[in-house]
Amino acid sequence: METTSQSPSTAARIALHPCYSEQAHRHFARLHLAVAPACNIQCHYCNRKYDCSNESRPGVVSELLTPEQAAQKALAVGAAIPHLAVVGVAGPGDPLANPDRLFATFRALAEKAPDLTLCVSTNGLALPEQVEELVKYRIGHVTITINCVDPSIGARIYPWIFWNHRRIRGRKAAEILIDQQQKGLEMLVARGVLVKVNSVLIPGVNDEHLREVHRVVTAKGAFLHNIMPLIARPEHGTYFGLTGQPEPTADQLRILREACAGQGGATGMMNHCQQCRADAVGLIGQDRGAEFSWEKVAAETVDWQAAVAKRTAVRAAIERRIVLHSQIHHPTSAPASPSGQRTGALQSETLRMAVASNDGRTVDAHFGHAREFLVFDVSPMGARLVERRDIERYCSGPVTCGDAAPALAGAIAALRDCAILLCARIGFEPWRALEDAAISPNSERAGEPIIDALLAVGAEWRDRAPRAVSPAGQRLCA
């Protein structure tokens, strides 16, 4: 979400939503409730046999919930994960093809979790008839998947829709779907709902066309456009997967996103989407769904009032931390030097250091558990936050980093221009690996405020020549 300028009220509305704010996705968690099994269309990238726990992609869930179960699950997750901010319904079918189940779930949450933002993701076919109901339930964020605005392209993506009690096929089906999507988009924007448009990039089908889609949804006032790569593997059993339809390359995706961003307009481009499952739990990119299966949450008695209070306090603390970083340490004059140059080690006065921190104030993170590093330039004049580096961003391997070795290599790549790494604890193996990469790990400042630690270590560095420090005596983990 880098390209949009927002009014203060819009900024406040997205500040807690991980799918609408690039910044929020680092701090706030979301929960997808799988209450909506039925669908009213067929897409060639989906199959309706959704019972699979080993896949991570939209439309896939492990267990279907009733509205009562879904509300109980949301309350349990909201008590266990105080940084939960958003509860969405995204499937496994289309939420608006299951209006009774959808709105029963939202009714149950309105009383016991009034602080949580509710959102919905839809294919748009039933959207116009449900807009008033969505507004009534204060659904401020709606995602519509729009893959085309041209029926001849739509006919290659959607084999059929169910419309007015009939199954409609081919170009006619695509015409109706496109009309409904566009009408729904206009109605939502007119009512002040923030609309995110998801588009699946399907090479050879809609790749060139998505620029036109971007132009149209921008003109109609979509808040954000999220172009996602097609997922099409034979083992998923989808039409595209079984017919050899290629997935886009990372370059194809990047070039198209940049081209759309370059078209101008107020609609931002989303670049941090992880294409979550329809029952995902936690921060984007960290699915904790297995911890909160229905079996595990069914018997829980949740003190929902205490949970609301805790979430409110945690939210305030996170927001303070975000403001602290953006105001006190945000780069003002000198732009950060390009990554890859070891400026810290080359310049005698300024040293580039990375900090592993969870709370954003103290050196409190275990190196191996850090999700991001805060990178500072430290001089006798003070410390300046250069940027936050998401470790996942450096991991270009498979989505699931099962092995420790690639994850460690990714973390080290993220630190390649830093001379020193401050963390609370670090294992012996990563210690050696960092030293081999000429980055000095330091866990002597565990628990100290970041600024104090940076200035102290910077002063030590200037006072003596860099030397290899043995891990002995440092706080090593087992």
Binding site: N40, A97, D100, R167
Partner: protein
């Protein structure tokens, strides 16, 4: 005259609220049609409602056991071969 839901039903609920005769039940392991209630939508709709939204080929069959949505009709995928092909 009644339709029947067979084992490949995934229980997605799409058909249940559409039935004009409330003949469909969310049974396990798959949904079921009450033959005493099912009219195949005659007199209510031109097309049988359950079979018009069902996404699974072969899941709903007529009185003769013939699928209302035969293989390939919904996904456009060629029907799977009757016997597995030998792996070469």
């Amino acid at each position: 005259m009644a339709f029947r839901i067979v084992a490949c039903c995934t229980g997605c609920w799409a058909c249940l609220p559409l039935c004009p005769r409330q003949a469909i039940r969310a049974a396990a392991p798959h949904f079921e049609i009450d033959p005493a209630r099912c009219t195949e939508c005659a007199g209510d709709y031109p097309d049988p409602q359950c079979a018009s939204i069902c996404p699974i080929e072969g899941a709903i069959v007529d009185a003769a056991g013939q699928p209302l949505n035969p293989p390939g009709s919904l996904t456009r995928l060629p029907p799977a071969p009757a016997t597995p092909l030998p792996i070469s």
